[in-house]
Symmetry: C2
C-alpha cells in the first residue's frame, strides 16, 4: 500500500490535508504532521512512528532546508519518498494517483512547478486577444 | 503600502498564514481567506472588502482554475497581483519582500518553482559522493 504524509512547521500541513480532503473527498489515506505547534512535541518520535511501516510512503514537506524536511531526509529510501516545497497541484496529483502502479514523481513535480503562475500575465493575454 | 492576502478552498490559507508568521515573526501584514469553511459564507463580499483599498495587493491562491483563484482573477490590475499554486518558498519570499520597491514577481515565481524538489535525487547524489 502507498500512503501520503504531509509535514510542515506550524499548521500548514493540516491546512493541506483538510483542503485536499475537501477537494478530493478522500479520507483516511492522508496523515499530517504539524511540528512546533505544541509545547511538548517530540517530532522525532512522531516521524519514526509514521515511517516505521512496510507501506510505501510519499512525504510532502513545506521547504527544502527546513528542519521538518531535514528530519524526514534521513529516512529516504526506495520505499520512502520525500518532496519539498509542496503546493496544492502537487498534493492533489499525488493524492489522486496513490494507487497508480506507474507513479511518475518526476513528471508530477515538473507539472506542479508549471502550476505556480503569475495570473496577471494571463489577464494581459486576455486583454490583447479582446482588442 | 503593499499587503499580502492568502486565499484558498478550506483552511489551507490559514495554514500558510500561521506557518509564515511562525517562520518570519511577521504579524498584521498578512490576511487569509478560507472559502467554503462556514455554511453561510459570502466569499464574493469578503473578496470585495479585501480588494477595495488603495493599497497594492499581492494575492496568493491555491490553484489556477480553482474557484477562489477565478474570483480574484476578475480584480487583477496594475495594483492587484494574483499568483496561483503558491508554496511556502513563494509565500516566504513575497512576505519578506513586501517593502521592496523593486519587487520582481517573475523572478520570485521562477525561484519558487525550483524549490519543488524530489529529495530522493539529492540523497542519491549524496550516496554517490560518499562512495
Amino acid at each position: 500500500m502507498r500512503r501520503l504524509i504531509i509535514a510542515s512547521h506550524s499548521i500548514l500541513a493540516e491546512g493541506f490535508k483538510e483542503t485536499l480532503e475537501f477537494l478530493t473527498g478522500m479520507h483516511n489515506q492522508i496523515s499530517s504532521l504539524c511540528a512546533y505547534v505544541e509545547e511538548i512535541d517530540d517530532i522525532d518520535e512522531q516521524i519514526k512512528e509514521l515511517v516505521d511501516t512496510t507501506d510505501e510512503i510519499i512525504v510532502l514537506t513545506d521547504m527544502a532546508g527546513g528542519s521538518v524536511n531535514q528530519k524526514f531526509f534521513t529516512y529516504i529510501s526506495d520505499r520512502v519518498h520525500v518532496i519539498a516545497g509542496m503546493n496544492l497541484p502537487l498534493a492533489m496529483s499525488i493524492a489522486l494517483q496513490l494507487g497508480n502502479d506507474n507513479l511518475d514523481i518526476g513528471a508530477i513535480i515538473a507539472e506542479a512547478q508549471q502550476q505556480i503562475i503569475y495570473m496577471n500575465n494571463q489577464k494581459s493575454e486576455e486583454r490583447i486577444e479582446d482588442e
